[in-house]
Symmetry: C2
Subunit: 355 residues, 2 copies
């Protein structure tokens, strides 16, 4: 199976533009709210967002909004809020997963301790709400309220998805099939990474004449976001197991140290001979610090040999192929512009990317 | 100085009614959203709210709303959201303070671990937003949006106040005066405990004719909430140092073990002879588990002898006296009903209560 090629120049340009706009918007926003004596909080909130990420989520909001005929300005608060939400989630996730590094530097809780990191995440979520309330002036109360409703949904899906995954870890659950995984990832990843950015962009950019069909359009977008979101997450997990460490920027096999249930790991545990399965589960349930690197290397090798890595690649490829088909059929309400072209190229990018 | 007496029957009845309504509303709300397989999350979110608290915050929302001529139904979503916010904050605070017990039982993070507790707090905050979005149907979009704006403010003040306090702890800061304390408590406690419940109730219950003066009324309410909130917090800290353990339901002197900067402790550190001050700071900066109970008892006794406890009592009394005067002058926009009477009695209750 071949990885589809994508228009690198288009993708890189759009992501860079979105990152730049989002950083400017965050700086303006925080500076306006930075009260005397509160520098410490605002410095902490700004930490992760200014360790440069991909900027995928804000780029999706901008593209969906402009694809509907809207302006960059109409998308700005929402794109910035989505990027902040992502960063707040990372701050809390890093505590929950006891991760040491994030985007090439110490995680926030390693730097400032758990209490400050919890509060920084909480504060980051508060500022998502602040930004979305500012939408009233830019988009009117009706659209602003529609966006808030979707933001509530993405937040709810995210905490539910996270609850499912934490429950698996807490109860040492490994008897899971692909359906379990897909439901968890739909909630935990697809909603805030793909579905909501696309939906929120469509709402922000839709003209008054679109109103009648808006809810239908949002359902189409939800399906597309699901397919693309799973492709994105499985590719993320594949990179964690197989990427070039320098290019990828994270520790390879970190997910095995963490015991993370991925499509590949679950495939291995379902198909491996009993002895291998027992050995793997023993390793996976050990505390991170006690895991022997040799055992982790053995598990990764065994997963390769069992075809688990190939299984993940095929599944990601299948979801993206379906997403591309769906895009052609389901996004007809969006005119053919370079913004829609970006959305299409993103579908290929999510599984062809190397980091 | 004498403690003012308050109408116990009125207070107890109103708190109980508010608690009952809030519990029913939460049950209905969670049951409607409880999705197959998500029981684990909803059970965790419901844990603290159903360990019976005082119900002070929802009671304030109901009273302010009904005092403006509104109905219980108009206050319900908002009262429930405020109570949920309080419980979400407790879940995260308990991790940050490494507290073992809450309302007579293990803290959530002791029971389920830090990761699940962080996510449970996050989820609780999401449901505040869900409830407040439901206000659109009950109160119309204008009032619902006004309430969301105040909710954003209370959330922002809370995380800022928390950031100030965590920064003091992280940097072992004890060179603080009453002004520092009052600013922190205004943000961390007054807003979500007094100011916002009163303001949100006023917005929810105000008739269309009130609109012109609404923002003026909300400023009056903010001042009242500040005075009452400081009275409440200082009394809370006094109870922690001096209450009857059985009646109070929490560990006495827990705040000294925690090293919490209270009005009383800061007074002691400002006024004590150098040797006592050095001994106290040495104790306060030790990890909780290493603190010698004898040393904690010594510090408490020294604070009594230095007049620090009396200083706290006088300050709380002074704030409540000012709140009572302010109530008579500043709340004239609210008719004299049993709801306004409750608000007045609450001012006395906050410093006369024994738990």
């Amino acid at each position: 199976m071949t990885t589809p090629d994508y228009d690198r120049a288009l993708i890189e340009q759009a992501l860079k533009t979105a990152r730049t706009r989002t950083e400017k918007a965050m700086t303006r926003f925080f500076d306006a709210r930075r009260e005397t004596g509160m520098d410490v909080l605002y410095d902490q909130i700004s930490d992760y967002p200014f360790r440069v990420g991909k900027g995928l989520r804000p780029a999706l909001v901008y593209a969906a909004c402009q694809g509907m005929g809207g302006t960059e300005a109409q998308a700005e608060n929402t794109a910035t809020a989505i990027e902040l939400f992502h960063n707040g989630a990372l701050v809390h996730d890093d505590i929950e997963d006891i991760s040491d590094f994030r985007r090439g530097d110490e995680t926030l809780f390693r730097r400032h301790g758990v209490p400050i990191a919890i509060n920084t995440g909480d504060a980051t979520f508060v500022f998502c709400l602040s930004l979305l309330l500012d939408n009233v002036e830019q988009l009117g109360v009706r659209k602003a309220m529609r966006i808030l409703k979707d933001f509530e949904r993405l937040s709810r899906e995210s905490v539910e998805g996270q609850a499912i995954e934490l429950d698996w870890i807490h109860n040492a659950r490994f008897d899971l099939d692909s359906e379990d995984y897909l439901r968890m990832a739909y909630k935990k990843t697809c909603w805030y990474t793909m579905i909501a950015p696309l939906r929120l962009g469509v709402v922000a950019g839709s003209g008054p004449s679109m109103v009648a069909d808006l809810e239908d359009a949002l359902i189409e977008v939800m399906e597309l976001g699901y397919l693309a979101g799973i492709g994105f997450q499985v590719q993320d997990d594949l990179l964690n197991l197989t990427a070039d460490e320098v290019l990828y920027g994270k520790e390879i096999s970190g997910d095995l140290y963490e015991g993370k249930r991925t499509i590949m790991l679950l495939h291995f545990l379902r198909t491996a001979p009993k002895r291998q399965r027992t050995r793997a589960i023993k390793l996976l349930t050990q505390p991170r610090a006690e895991k022997e690197p040799d055992e982790v290397r053995w598990l990764l090798q065994a997963m390769h040999e069992a075809g688990s890595i190939d299984h993940g690649r095929e599944l990601a490829q299948d979801f993206i192929t379906r997403a591309l088909t769906f895009e052609a059929e389901g996004l007809r309400f969006m005119a053919e512009t370079r913004h829609r072209q970006f959305l299409r190229e993103v579908l290929k990018y999510v599984i062809a990317r190397l980091k």
